[in-house]
């Protein structure tokens, strides 16, 4: 059962990720990315991270992608024309990445597979345990993150504010 779910949603994730890169129109890329995030949420749930899966749908597929779609519809970008030098660029990007991927998949994984038990965490990871760790061990990073978000809000407002010259 887990295998079927994994392979189906892994295929969906890879396919929609490819569509993100290959679509000419930014809106279609954004919708493909939402599908990819949804498939990844299913995989997160399978890995025992129910809370992360929920946040993935709410924060990523919800909030962040709505922001993206807002900007895309506001700016109405033209469909990207893949010029004659497209294949040169593709080769430039593709060959090192293909080499890297081949190296990772063929060499690193079999030799360096995790030595952990490989058993699933007994039950779905509860928010209670995560909250314990988040608000005790990681309290300082948590507070720093809140400052980061505050700065991001201020930065976004300052950047977007219209300054008549």
């Amino acid at each position: 059962m887990e295998q079927i779910v994994f392979y189906v949603f892994a295929a969906v994730a890879v396919g929609s990720a490819l569509l993100v890169v290959l679509q000419q129109r930014a809106v279609y890329s954004a919708f493909s990315l939402i599908v990819c995030f949804g498939a990844l949420a299913v995989l997160y749930f399978q890995l025992g991270a129910a809370l992360v899966a929920a946040l993935q749908v709410i924060v990523y597929a919800g909030a962040i992608m709505v922001l993206f779609l807002f900007v895309i519809m506001l700016l109405d970008p033209q469909a990207e024309r893949f010029g004659p030098d497209r294949f040169k660029k593709t080769a430039l990007a593709g060959l090192p990445m293909a080499a890297f991927l081949a190296f990772v998949l063929l060499r690193v994984f079999p030799a360096w597979s995790p030595r952990g038990s490989g058993e699933p965490i007994g039950s779905v990871e509860g928010p209670k345990r995560i909250a314990h760790i988040l608000f005790q061990d990681y309290l300082l990073p948590f507070e720093v993150t809140s400052i980061l978000i505050l700065v991001a809000i201020l930065g976004a407002v300052v950047l977007v504010k219209h300054r008549p010259d």
Partner: protein, 102 residues
């Protein structure tokens, strides 16, 4: 029914990451490049969670939360920058944003 080994999740994460890198290099539209970055961040999150299950540690979940938070902040600022770029030079093509080129 067998368990899916953690290496398969790691391989999926590597594939998604490489797709994101390739998209970032090949595409010239700033918004699509930005979406490729989000794809890379998600690939890393998947890797984190695969290791979290392997070693039965919840700390990786916390790191995924932080990655998501930073991604949200990054999206807000980055999209504001894209709006500024469009207002400044009326284009979203990254090749034409070469004002800083010496």
């Amino acid at each position: 029914m067998g368990m899916v080994p953690a290496t398969h999740y790691l391989a999926l994460g590597a594939v998604l990451f490489v797709i994101g890198v390739a998209g970032f290099i090949v595409r010239r539209n700033v918004i699509t490049m930005f979406m490729s970055v989000e794809l890379m961040l998600n690939a890393v999150n998947l890797t984190f969670l695969a290791y979290a299950r392997t070693w039965n540690q919840v700390d990786a979940h916390i790191f995924v939360f932080f990655v998501m938070t930073v991604a949200a902040a990054e999206a807000a600022v980055g999209l504001a920058l894209i709006l500024g770029l469009d207002r400044h030079s009326q284009t979203l093509d990254i090749d034409s944003a070469d004002k800083l080129q010496g």
